[in-house]
Symmetry: C2
Subunit: 124 residues, 2 copies
């Protein structure tokens, strides 16, 4: 069952079939990058707080800045990223821009991640 294979190049492979299988099933690199960007967007305290707040109600930039305790500029930078990834949308009312979640994927992602971190730790 085991193909012990040691080449001179440092790509040492123990289970060749497994690696080949994994290669075939691998996601397209572009898809993986998009996935990566999305998770990266969620992996930041400021953006996470923004998204959590927007899950309940739409809010404008300066309110979010007050909520997070950072400058409006910083919030704006983050919102641009979230907009680019289609995680949030906005609507204008005069000079004020109200941001809201783009769809319920964010809610679902956060809910599942919450489940995960609250799950009791098990030995291996």
């Amino acid at each position: 069952m085991k193909h012990i294979k040691k080449d001179k190049c440092d790509c040492r492979i123990i289970h060749e079939e497994k690696v080949n299988e994994a290669r075939q099933r691998a996601l397209d690199d572009l898809v993986t990058e998009n996935l990566c960007e999305t998770f990266k967007a969620l992996g930041d305290m400021s953006r996470l707080k923004v998204l959590w707040a927007l899950e309940y109600q739409e809010m404008c930039v300066c309110d979010l800045a007050a909520l997070l305790g950072i400058t409006e500029s910083a919030v704006s930078h983050q919102l641009r990223l979230l907009r680019t990834l289609r995680l949030v949308k906005n609507r204008r009312e005069g000079t004020i821009l109200y941001y809201r979640l783009a769809d319920d994927h964010v809610s679902q992602l956060v809910r599942i991640a919450l489940e995960h971190i609250q799950e009791p730790g098990v030995k291996n």
Copy 2:
């Protein structure tokens, strides 16, 4: 309805009720940090590839290294992080450690994120 409030301090708040509401509903900081760490773990090409591979079959460190095209050391570092966050588990067979997903939360998270990025882009 609008409380225009401009203080000398730069925490300008337009909708005070919204900010207060958001503050009350805000997640505990420690919980947010854990959430953040979890998403951060998913927001990396190497770790994402590892997790995607492990969703189908358990694999050992050097096979994962071969699959990703990085050193075994790099994979090991990443696996330690994933283990710490209880995203993967391992079992030992001789000198070989086989890694697998800890539960199906990762699968769910990736599936939802995939849905999100594949959703057709809509104007605002």
